[in-house]
Amino acid sequence: MAITSTLSSDGSLLTIYIQGRFDFSSHQDFRASYEGLEKKPERYRVDMQETSYLDSSALGMLLLLRDHAGGDKATIEIRNCSPDVKKILTISNFEQLFDIR
């Protein structure tokens, strides 16, 4: 598991890449990827291209990110989910809270 992130040059979009299993053990890294930025980005993107699995604690972490980003006003995209990952997000009705594609 590895979590990396890149900030667009104008600082408006933060993209977080999650590799491997997304579970409680990635909590610190995931949190560190979006906290402590000088300026809060307007948009967030979580790229799950390389994510093999996601558990219920990862769902909690996504919600933490959402609240950090402004709650209902946050713009968070989740991209490139595998069918298994997407199924878990869908079961938990996360498409109502995130822009999932």
Binding site: D55, S56, G60
Partner: protein
């Protein structure tokens, strides 16, 4: 070989003078000379010495030149031994007789030395050419023989792979021309653990080896995955991915994949680039075409690949017909193609389904004619039958009951020393997917196991309280506490109990996870199913409940059982 190469030349003449003159002329040009005084001697010298060229007097005692020429030509076999007749005869009939007897040329007496030399040179060139042609012919035939041997071996390998399935089932009729593999046609059929039959007819672009090469990974992928119970879409995707990766651009596989579910009387069809297959209803009527709605296998990357299938309800006795374009493009002597209309006409002209397969084949072959029977005809008939009448279904059920996990239980205890680092999920999942029909549910099973296990560990063994997770700081604190308690833990037990049994439709798996903690009856919190879509916790059991049929809390609440029933038709 240049035309100046010294030759061995036989001179046969009963006149000593004439013979002597000839010998002198020939020897002066550097050739080796053999002599004979009559036809019989000429033949025996030829047998002994195999000269390169023969100068033969027409009229000689003891077998004349004509008779000797016939014998010498017969002895020479296919090597070219030019015979030049030496004759004082000048009438047309005699000269023609010389050539008829096998002579290649004639020279009239008295001899013109210059012309004789020129003729020897000219025949020598012809000999050289002839021997080159013979060499090349032999080389070509050796190569051809070699190629046929290689193809025979390759076909054996291929047949062992391609025909390991259920093409011999009694609801399947098929015709593949003998070397169809080298025309790039492939037909594979296998039974899924659920008792449905999967058939794939493919036609690789191109001919010969490049087209045949792709057929082998296709067949081995197909059989490997069908037997293990992978979903049709997974199999299509895997084949597509494999072909896309290994085949050069421009070579791909037009294919139709059919999944026949005998119990539900349904077929699902994916057609990528093959001519429309026909559904023929036992009740009669026009055939219904199943047209191609996808790109062939091996064209698109898997991200853009589409695996949606068309669903058809079939009655008992209804049949599906598939073919590669070999039938449509079969040509008669005038160069006309058989075409879709003629094909359709065969369907319409007779209501008898039992003879349809043979009629189609017979009609195409009659159209093409005896002489030019095309080599790439592939035709398949698949009949929807009651499962109890399909022998491949029975064979699969038999195989399954003998060789696969069906009814079993296992109990697996995780002990304190393993809590910190050991993750039991991969190990348990490896066992679960050995049940053929469960493989396609491996994602769900992983989630079920992982959620139940972490609940048992975090709440049962480590006594962590989810309420902590209500804030971002608490969330972090929760996992810090988890880490602390985990490193201090020295007792406890998590028991994972798996129980599986089969049903007609598939099977039922019971996953029971029990921990040595007090359970919620013993003071721990009852599991909260969060209805608050914004809460950071409480999702684990909610996920579990959605993914399985029932969740039971047993014992003092330190035992949770999830019941997962699966159908292999999915």
């Amino acid at each position: 070989m240049s035309d100046d190469t010294p030759l061995t030349i036989l001179v046969a003449d009963d006149s000593d003078t004439d013979r002597h003159i000839l010998e002198t002329i020939v020897a002066r040009d550097g050739h080796r000379v053999l002599s004979a005084r009559d036809g019989r001697e000429a033949v025996s010298v030829f047998e002994e010495e195999q000269p390169d060229l023969v100068l033969l007097d027409a009229l000689m005692p003891n077998l004349d030149g004509f008779g000797a020429a016939r014998r010498i030509k017969a002895l020479a076999g296919e090597s070219l031994v030019p015979i030049i007749f030496l004759t004082s005869l000048t009438d047309t009939e005699s000269l023609v007789q010389c050539l008829d007897a096998g002579g290649d040329d004639f020279l009239s007496k008295p001899y013109n030395r210059v012309i004789l030399q020129a003729k020897i040179k000219s025949f020598n060139r012809m000999r050289a050419m002839h021997s080159t042609i013979l060499d090349q012919r032999d080389q070509i035939s050796r190569h051809h023989e070699h190629l046929l041997q290689e193809q025979t071996v390759a076909k054996q390998v291929f047949d062992n792979i391609a025909h390991s399935g259920c093409l011999d089932s009694n609801n399947v009729k098929y015709f593949l021309s003998s070397l169809a593999m080298f025309n790039g046609d492939i037909l594979v059929a296998g039974m899924r653990p659920s008792g449905s039959m999967m058939v794939l007819l493919g036609d690789f672009t191109g001919h010969g080896l490049p087209a045949a090469v792709g057929a082998i990974p296709l067949a081995s992928t197909f059989y490997g995955m069908v037997n293990k119970g992978f979903a049709v879409s997974d199999i299509l995707r895997e084949i597509n991915h494999k072909l896309k990766t290994i085949l050069p651009v421009g070579i791909f596989c037009c294919a139709t994949m059919v999944d026949i579910n005998f119990r539900r009387q349904q077929i699902r069809v994916w057609n990528g680039g093959l001519p429309p297959g026909y559904i023929r209803r036992a009740s009669g009527g026009e055939p219904e075409p199943i047209t191609s709605t996808h790109l062939p296998l091996g064209v698109l990357s898997n991200q853009r690949f589409k695996d949606d299938m068309q669903l058809y309800d079939l009655a008992w006795g209804d049949s599906l017909y598939l073919w590669s374009d070999g039938i449509h493009e079969a040509r008669n002597a005038d160069g006309d193609m058989f075409g879709e209309d003629r094909l359709k006409a065969v369907f319409v002209e007779d209501a008898d389904n039992s003879t349809l397969f043979d009629r189609i084949l017979g009609r195409v072959q009659a159209f093409v004619g005896e002489g030019r029977r095309d080599d790439d005809l592939s035709l398949v008939e698949l009949r929807m039958d009651r499962p109890e009448n399909v022998n491949a279904v029975a064979a699969e059920a038999e195989r399954r009951s003998r060789s696969t996990l069906s009814e079993w239980t296992m109990s697996f205890d995780v002990l304190p020393g393993s809590f910190r680092h050991f993750d039991p999920m991969p190990l348990l999942l490896t066992i679960l997917v050995e049940v053929p029909g469960l493989r396609q549910h491996s994602g769900d099973l992983y989630t079920l196991l992982a959620e139940l296990y972490s609940n048992a560990l975090e709440h049962g063994i480590l006594q962590l309280d989810s309420d902590l997770k209500s804030s971002a700081e608490g969330f972090t604190q929760y996992y810090e506490l988890r880490q602390q308690r985990l490193s201090a833990i020295s007792e406890g037990l998590i028991r994972i109990h798996l129980q599986h049994s089969t049903t007609d439709e598939g099977g039922i798996l019971r996953l029971r996870v029990e921990d040595s903690g007090p359970g919620f009856a013993g003071g721990a919190r009852a599991p909260a199913l969060s209805n608050d879509s914004h809460a950071y916790c409480g999702r684990g059991l909610a996920l579990v409940e959605k993914l399985c049929d029932a969740v039971h809390y047993l014992g003092d609440g330190n035992e949770v059982e999830a019941v997962f029933s699966w159908s292999s038709d999915a």
